[in-house]
């Protein structure tokens, strides 16, 4: 499928009107643009056209030759003169409409077509096939295509050849794979398919269906051009992050690497992924973004030699690989499998191992500490051995399993001369290992990560592009606003048990045209869909403020709980410096132009300074920036500068319960 920005425009004329068509688009799009409404039955804007009803036939003159073609699937490849109203075309339309009328005289959509095409004679094509039912199936193929393209189940098909053709499921039985997604009923123009639902009594099932169908249609028609979730899942982000210098490489030292192409989504698709099947989270998901690798032979561990199915790799797991300096998909798939098998998080494992590897390379730990394992960046078998040791609860693995927070304190005591360095490079906050994005150059993301109540999980705020790339939140106030809105918004999905991917991993076609950029970034139509899902289920109407407040109640409760547990203090919200800037001279010099400029632009004199000195200047500057953004964010959230929810805020949200006030009242 060609990406649009590789196509070009072709000038065509439709009934004398000049239209600038996109190469390889379907002719019907241009005809619609010219304001002409062709009669159609099998055409549906969200389904691949198949040219079976023949009503949209028009005359085109191309390269000097005239011919009749179906507009719905005729690709525009050269200049065309299109005439939709020649005598011949009108005659054929009328005859075809009469054929339809003869077979299905009482179906409303057929009657409309007949009127549009000037056909009135019901008797002409009457035969023993004639069906008088006003809800008859008219063989338009919408349902068959929807079952294939929207939901990817391909259960509906045609049985019988020729005039015996009828829509059916395999072996004329109700197929157990049918999930009742109701895509077929949604697209059926006659009501031949009806839905028998209300199993759990939603207040307004049509509302849910309508918005759900919009999503299904977008998945089918737009995803292949956007994030390709169906094709490769979250792995599509690997090459994107690398291009934007955000892919964690060697414990977040760098943002890209020449070997990334060895593990990008193209390689995964070509050599590893074998499933592309809607299963995963729930069987009816039309996105079905999860992927798996089948028949993968394990090389280490208790199942060595077995061929297994591995669920993944997702972006985080692959980026975990680059973070460990390893771009070998065989290693990545294997550590994915064993983390899953042992019940471990791949992110924590990978980030912790990246820390261990940097410590090893810097001589902070040696083979004596690792029990003989050799663990520089890029180590594979020995890194896997640590994983197996973790599972067995022995050796170095047992220590490793305590996590970065434990390890960095232990090793800081062991090597006091390198203690600051160790604390700077140990990528954890609040005891949770950082997830796989390089937040170094985005102040908003640093805050998004580290202010998150559970620890640096990007689930709460993923602001890198808005900040670093779009420059949409340049001031502290802008950042604070984002740090107020997004954590609440993103947490809201989790509270309802909804998948967020459908919010922003696919965007409606007109999103950028309809809304100014700041708003378009929030994908308002999709947010609206979610309100409608909730309203359809519960009857409760939502808007932006109500949604944010629902989430804010829980968010504030969580914050208060962490304060109650003695954890939610300002010092816990400060990142290790590796998350904020260049720790080593090596890192500084890898981006020297950018860093020098930033210092200069902010009035810091670097004339005659050594790299070590500039590293320190930058560190001081950035921690100061971070302090300021934290102040602004807390203020916006209605918290004190120490990050304690103010009582007015609790009152505002209606959660000023005595038990909660008790915890925060002395910290105001």
């Amino acid at each position: 499928m060609a990406l649009l920005n590789k196509s070009k425009r072709i000038d065509i004329s439709v009934n004398g009107v000049k239209i600038s068509a996109i190469e390889n688009s379907n002719l019907i799009d241009s005809i619609k643009e010219a304001g002409i409404d062709l009669p159609t039955l099998c055409y549906h804007k969200d389904l691949t056209p198949n040219g079976s009803c023949r009503l949209c036939m028009v005359e085109v003159e191309e390269r000097g030759k005239k011919k009749l073609v179906t507009a719905c699937n005729y690709p525009v490849r050269a200049e065309l003169n299109v005439n939709t109203e020649t005598e011949k075309v009108k005659r054929h339309r009328k005859n075809l409409a009469e054929m339809y009328l003869g077979r299905w005289p009482n179906v409303p959509v057929i009657q409309e077509i007949a009127e549009k095409c000037g056909a009135v004679d019901k008797e002409k094509y009457k035969s023993d096939l004639t069906d008088e039912n006003p809800k008859a199936c008219i063989l338009c193929t919408h349902c068959v295509r929807a079952c294939d393209e929207f939901i990817q189940e391909k259960i509906l098909g045609f049985a019988g050849r020729g005039y015996k053709r009828n829509v059916n499921m395999p072996f004329q039985k109700v197929d157990p794979h049918c999930v009742g997604c109701s895509s077929c009923a949604f697209v059926c123009p006659t009501g031949a398919i009806s839905i028998d639902d209300n199993l759990n009594h939603p207040v307004n099932p049509e509302m849910i269906r309508d918005h759900g169908m919009k999503v299904n249609a977008e998945m089918a028609t737009l995803d292949p051009y956007q994030c390709r979730m169906r094709e490769v899942g979250t792995a599509n982000i690997v090459e994107v992050m690398d291009a934007y210098d955000l892919l964690p490489v060697m414990n977040y030292k760098y943002g890209q690497h020449k070997d990334t192409p060895k593990m990008d989504s193209k390689v995964m698709k070509a050599k590893y992924f074998t499933q592309g099947h809607p299963d995963q989270c729930w069987h009816g998901c039309s996105m079905a973004c999860a992927k798996a690798v089948e028949h993968f032979e394990l090389k280490t561990g208790p199942y060595k030699g077995d061929k297994v199915i591995v669920d993944g790799p997702e972006y985080e797991t692959a980026a975990g690989g680059s973070n460990m300096g390893c771009f070998d998909l065989d290693f990545i798939v294997e550590y994915n499998f064993y983390c899953d098998t042992y019940g471990l998080d791949t992110i924590s494992y990978a980030t912790c191992m990246a820390f261990v590897m940097e410590c090893y390379e810097n001589g902070i730990i040696t083979k004596e500490d690792t029990g003989g394992l050799h663990l520089p960046f890029g180590a594979t078998n020995d890194a896997l051995e640590v994983l197996h040791q973790m599972a067995r609860g022995e050796g170095f693995g047992l220590e490793f399993g305590q996590g970065i927070k434990y390890l960095k304190e232990k090793w800081a005591k062991k090597c006091p001369e390198k203690a600051q360095f160790i604390r700077d490079i140990g990528m954890e906050a609040k005891g949770l290992e950082y997830s796989e994005y390089v937040s170094k150059e985005s102040l908003a993301q640093q805050a998004g990560y580290t202010l998150a109540i559970k620890g640096p999980q990007h689930d709460e705020a993923w602001l890198i592009f808005m900040d670093m790339v779009n420059n949409q939140i340049p001031t502290f106030e802008d950042k604070a606003e984002a740090l107020y809105y997004f954590p609440l918004f993103r947490t809201w999905f989790g509270l309802y048990g909804l998948c967020k991917i459908v919010w922003n991993d696919v965007a409606p076609k007109d999103n950028s045209m309809k809304y100014p950029p700041q708003q378009a970034a929030k994908i308002p139509d999709h947010v609206y869909n979610y309100w409608k899902f909730v309203e359809g289920m519960t009857g409760r109407e939502l808007n932006e403020q109500k949604m944010l407040d629902e989430s804010a109640r829980v968010h504030n409760l969580q914050k208060i709980m962490s304060i109650m547990l003695g954890k939610g203090e300002r010092k816990d919200d400060i990142p290790p410096y590796r998350a904020m800037g260049p720790v080593t001279v090596e890192e500084y010099e890898s981006r020297v132009l950018r860093y020098d400029k930033q210092l200069k632009d902010n009035g810091i004199d670097i004339e005659g300074k050594t790299s070590e000195e500039k590293v320190q200047l930058m560190k001081d500057f950035r921690y100061e920036q971070y302090r300021k953004v934290t102040d602004a964010a807390f203020t916006r959230r209605g918290w004190t500068l120490e990050g304690v929810p103010k009582i007015e805020r609790l009152k505002e949200l209606g959660i000023d319960l005595p038990e909660l006030v008790e915890i925060v009242k002395d910290k105001q």
Partner: protein, 66 residues
């Protein structure tokens, strides 16, 4: 001089197109919205839309991922 996202500066050259700007900034991401002096540019026109000197370009990447 071209200003991208109110911050990054690019050298202008004769015959510069929107696609050239995306290439120079290494903006390979699929879900973007491009504005040229307040005008939204359609994807299919990136290759053919010429950019004049001193233009302001916005390339918004839709919040994604995570």
């Amino acid at each position: 001089m071209i200003l991208v996202n109110d911050r990054d500066q690019l050298e202008w050259h004769e015959g510069m197109t929107v696609q050239d700007i995306l290439d120079e900034m290494n903006y390979t991401y699929s879900m973007i919205v491009v504005g040229l002096n307040e005008q939204i540019i359609h994807e299919v026109d990136y290759h053919t839309t010429l950019v004049e000197d001193n233009s302001k370009v916005t390339v918004f990447h839709l919040a994604h991922g995570g």
